[in-house]
């Protein structure tokens, strides 16, 4: 390990490390609140007493919160230091990387990719918790026609917030925790290319979450997560919270995307040619590669909306020379690639673990890569299939139908790869592998229903109905979230040093998957029968279908709570994991648990790909510790005190 070095680097004087060492999430929140109050007071003083005043004040207050928060967490220390001609000493850098700080490093602007990965994991879980609770409220309101549980305004606001929270959560759920923690290990690197940008991208999302949730106190949003103008022009100040969240999130994604791409392009271990790069890496890079052109469109759409709302611009207002179709195009130019940003890393993670749990090489690696690339390229050419009924360009409907239906070809390639990997394998049905099977079922349904929607006449009947809602939940949740949970079960031992409790993992798995299918099959049914989307009440004829969906939703909620329990309890006192419990051949499993700060003592040199199952001699591996072997070692549980079964390995 390197010795602590307080010598200034390259003759540059040391930056004052004192302030940096005192900053954490509490100072960030404090800084944000203080600057927000100042901004609010000043803005109110100068605010014009017209229609735009409240929105101007809201936007200024939120910008001040975000800047204050980032200052309070220490994001500007580096740039301000550079302006003063100073940089970090290596002792400062080790401090920033979280060396010897224990649990406190998780509450700071820590640059170690493993810490950022864990922070992303916790953030994702919080977002799913809040978004999931909202889903429970939505389904409770729909348990019967005219339930009178929520007012229409509350319902619309919750639907919109649920949507945006889940979109953000699903975008970061694989590339955040695993793209950060696992990816550098998997390519044999010591960290990401830009460690400080890594921490920046995470903390920006943390700063954005209170902004999004503040919409509840600002009148909510009436538009759903798609924020269509000109309804968004009419909306109360909650809409400003919505657009600020997106602007911040878009910047965070761009930063993370640049970081991940550069890391993979330049920091792979010696000998890791593209042919020897694991498929998960391709998935992560494709995802951020799509995000980089797509999210700026989203940001642009919201900036223009902000100008409409605060300055009286007329970008989306036809009577002022603008067009609502401008919003729809900007939104969907993001909105379609975005679903593949969500989906591709989840399926890539499943491809990765399927090879391990079938003890076989990935079937046709080149087809897998071609599938990922094909989906990515086509996904930027299909956006107006969301606009078939908008009347914007009816003559282009056929062209968009062509490109959309063509996406089923590279998607089918990914199915081929997974089925071919399973074919004649030795299937080890542990929890991670079960997610692959759930994904196969859910994604084939999601994909086929997408084919229906891509057909223009059918879309004229089904657009804007609950059928669409069910379709995208089958793909984003049934395939995406399922893949992320599989990735969590797979990489949990490496990230936490403990095995994820499989008993409650399986209880959760079955509750969630069965509940999920009940909920959204019911939703396909009511959609075909004519229920529109985003309605807080509906025709009596649809009562049974909605009731069934609500019951399924409650099952999902309980299942996810069991998963939460499994994650909590395993993290704190689960069985200690060996460094390679699954017998996988990728590089991250060659480092010990817990993973040392600098990952590898000696950077590895790669001479083959990670799929040599059946080609290299089989090395029996011990696998995860069995629960009953470890009972005597559990502290605090009422285990058999006098069991003599095996000592801890």
């Amino acid at each position: 390990m390197s010795t602590l070095n307080t010598e200034p680097l390259l003759g540059i004087p040391a930056a004052g490390g004192g302030l940096m060492r005192r900053l954490n999430v509490v100072t960030a929140a404090g800084g944000g609140l203080v600057l927000a109050l100042v901004g609010w007071a000043i803005a109110r003083h100068f605010m014009l007493a017209d229609d735009f005043g409240p929105d101007q004040v809201t936007v200024i207050t939120m910008v001040c919160w975000a800047v204050g928060f980032m200052a309070g967490i220490g994001a500007f220390n580096g740039p301000i230091g550079w302006l003063r001609g100073r940089d970090l000493t290596s002792e400062d850098e080790l401090f920033l990387a979280g060396k010897d700080q224990g649990i406190r490093r998780y509450f700071r602007f820590t640059t170690d990719h493993k810490v950022v990965g864990i922070q992303y994991l916790v953030l994702t879980m919080v977002l799913f918790g809040v978004g999931g609770a909202m889903a429970m409220l939505i389904r409770t309101n729909l348990i019967s026609p005219n339930s009178n549980f929520l007012s229409p305004q509350q319902y619309n606001a919750i639907v919109g917030l649920h949507g945006l929270i889940m979109v953000i959560a699903t975008i970061i759920m694989v590339t955040g925790p695993f793209g950060n923690f696992i990816m550098p290990l998997m390519i044999g690197a010591r960290d990401m290319a830009f460690p400080r940008l890594n921490a920046l991208s995470l903390w920006m999302i943390v700063a954005a979450v209170p902004i999004l949730l503040s919409a509840t106190f600002l009148g909510g949003i009436p538009t759903g997560w798609s924020g269509y103008a000109p309804l968004a022009d009419q909306a109360p100040p909650g809409m400003d919270a919505f657009l600020m969240t997106i602007i911040i999130f878009a910047i965070s994604s761009a930063v993370a995307g640049a970081n991940i791409t550069t890391t993979v392009l330049t920091m792979r271990a010696r000998g890791m040619t593209w042919n020897r790069t694991p498929i998960f890496i391709y998935g992560v890079v494709a995802s951020v590669g799509l995000a980089i052109p797509a999210f700026p469109m989203f940001m642009a759409s919201q900036v223009l909306l902000g100008l409409d709302r605060t300055m009286g611009a007329r970008f989306y207002i036809a009577s002022g020379g603008g067009s609502p179709w401008l919003y729809a195009n900007l939104f969907w130019l993001m909105g379609h690639p975005e679903v593949y940003v969500i989906l591709i890393p989840a399926i890539a993670a499943l491809m990765e673990l399927t090879a391990v749990f079938s003890r076989k090489p990935l079937f046709s690696f080149n087809t897998a890569v071609l599938g990922i690339v094909g989906i990515s390229v086509l996904s930027v050419m299909v956006w107006a299939h969301h606009m078939y009924v908008s009347g914007w360009a009816p003559n282009l409907n056929g062209a968009f139908m062509l490109t959309t239906e063509m996406i089923s070809i590279p998607t089918g390639m990914l199915f081929l790869v997974i089925l071919g990997t399973i074919w004649r394998g030795r299937i080890w049905t542990r929890l991670p592998m079960m997610s692959t099977y759930a994904m196969l079922w859910n994604f084939i349904i999601g994909g086929i229903t997408g084919l229906y929607l891509s057909d223009v006449p059918v879309d004229y009947a089904l657009h804007g109905s609950m059928f669409v809602t069910a379709h995208f939940h089958y793909t984003l949740m049934g395939a995406g979230l399922t893949g992320a949970i599989g990735a969590l079960a797979y990489w949990f031992p490496k990230m936490t040093g403990r095995m994820l409790d499989e008993r409650f993992g399986f209880i959760s798995f079955w509750l969630v998957q069965i509940g999920f299918n009940v909920t959204f099959m019911g939703m396909f049914a009511v959609g075909l029968a004519g229920q529109p989307r985003r309605v807080y009440t509906y025709d009596n004829l649809l009562a049974t279908g909605n009731f069934v969906s609500t019951m399924g939703a409650y099952a999902i909620g309980i299942g996810m709570l069991f998963l939460l329990y499994a994650v909590f309890s395993s993290w704190r006192h689960g069985e200690l994991a060996p460094s390679n419990p699954w017998g996988s051949k990728t590089l991250e499993w060659t480092v010990p648990n817990p993973v040392p700060l600098e990952n590898f003592e000696v950077l590895p040199v790669v001479t083959s790909d990670a799929y040599g199952y059946g080609e290299e001699p089989f090395e029996p591996f011990e696998g995860p510790p069995r629960p009953d072997k470890l009972e005597p070692a559990h502290v605090g549980s009422s285990a058999d005190e006098d069991s003599t079964e095996g000592a801890r390995p």
Binding site: L231, I409, G420, D455, P457, E502
Partner: protein, 258 residues
């Protein structure tokens, strides 16, 4: 599989593998079940169609579902068999690796070819449907109905019938009608559910859609684009009546207005 044997021998050897036989039978059985589902469930849920447009929609749903049955059945057959025939029993790690199958050129090419073929089929089917429906919608003597969406009510006017206005939509059966749709405020979406037509109502623009209602009855007109507080209540009814009843209704509306 030896490359030197004739194809028929290769196929026979391939078929004699236990797993192939079982997977193929499972695949056939699942295809039958899913096809029965495809032929019955979607149309039953969508209900009796009230126009040729909706009839085309329902037949497309059925045809695509039947085609998809075989695909879904294949995925499920392989997945299910893998859990029975290739499973490493117990929670202990497997005691060996599987065969080092890096790929299979024939299977890959066949898979891609079939998926391309199915995609082309769906595309050609869809383009054909679009062609025939647009021919329907642009008949020269179609009746024009102006549809105005606003938060949160639909109103209709009949420019060719004395500019009669109403919040309920009355249409004569078997007569082509073209809707000129616009909005007074935000984006709405004019959806006549059982006729299978939908077009957005945009402020400052007029969009058009056409249909031939060919069944008498009362049908649902709903808004399909979230438009604010009472979007769920932005519903009215479409009454398809005989031509004489329609004429009588027009006369009664004109009388009421004067």
């Amino acid at each position: 599989m030896s490359e030197t044997e004739p194809v028929t021998v290769q196929i026979r050897t391939w078929w004699q593998r236990v797993e192939i036989k079982r997977i193929v039978w499972t695949w056939l059985g699942l295809t039958v079940l899913l096809t029965i589902f495809a032929l019955t469930v979607p149309t039953r849920l969508m209900g009796p169609p009230a126009s040729p447009t909706m009839r085309a929609v329902e037949s497309t749903m059925t045809v695509f579902s039947v085609a998809a049955s075989a695909v879904m059945a294949l995925v499920l057959a392989i997945a299910v068999y893998s859990l029975i025939g290739w499973r490493s029993r117990g929670s202990e790690p497997p005691i060996g690796d599987g065969p080092p199958i890096r790929g299979n050129g024939r299977v890959t090419v066949a898979w891609i070819a079939v998926s391309t073929g199915l995609t082309m089929f769906a595309l050609i089917w869809g383009l054909g449907e679009m062609q025939s429906l647009s021919a329907d919608a642009s008949t020269p003597n179609a009746m024009v109905v102006n549809v105005t969406g606003q938060q949160w009510v639909w109103t209709f006017s009949y420019p060719q019938n004395g500019n009669v206005e109403s919040e309920q939509l009355y249409l004569p059966v078997n007569r082509p009608v073209v809707f000129h749709v616009t909005s007074k405020d935000v984006i709405h979406s004019f959806w006549v559910v059982q006729m299978g037509i939908k077009i957005d109502a945009n402020p400052g623009e007029v969009t058009k859609t056409g249909v031939v209602p060919d069944r008498l009855g009362t049908f649902d007109v709903r808004c399909a684009e979230l438009c604010g507080l009472l979007h769920a209540h932005m519903e009215t009814q479409a009454h398809v009546v005989s031509s004489s009843n329609f004429a009588a209704w027009i006369t009664a509306q004109e009388r009421r207005a004067s």
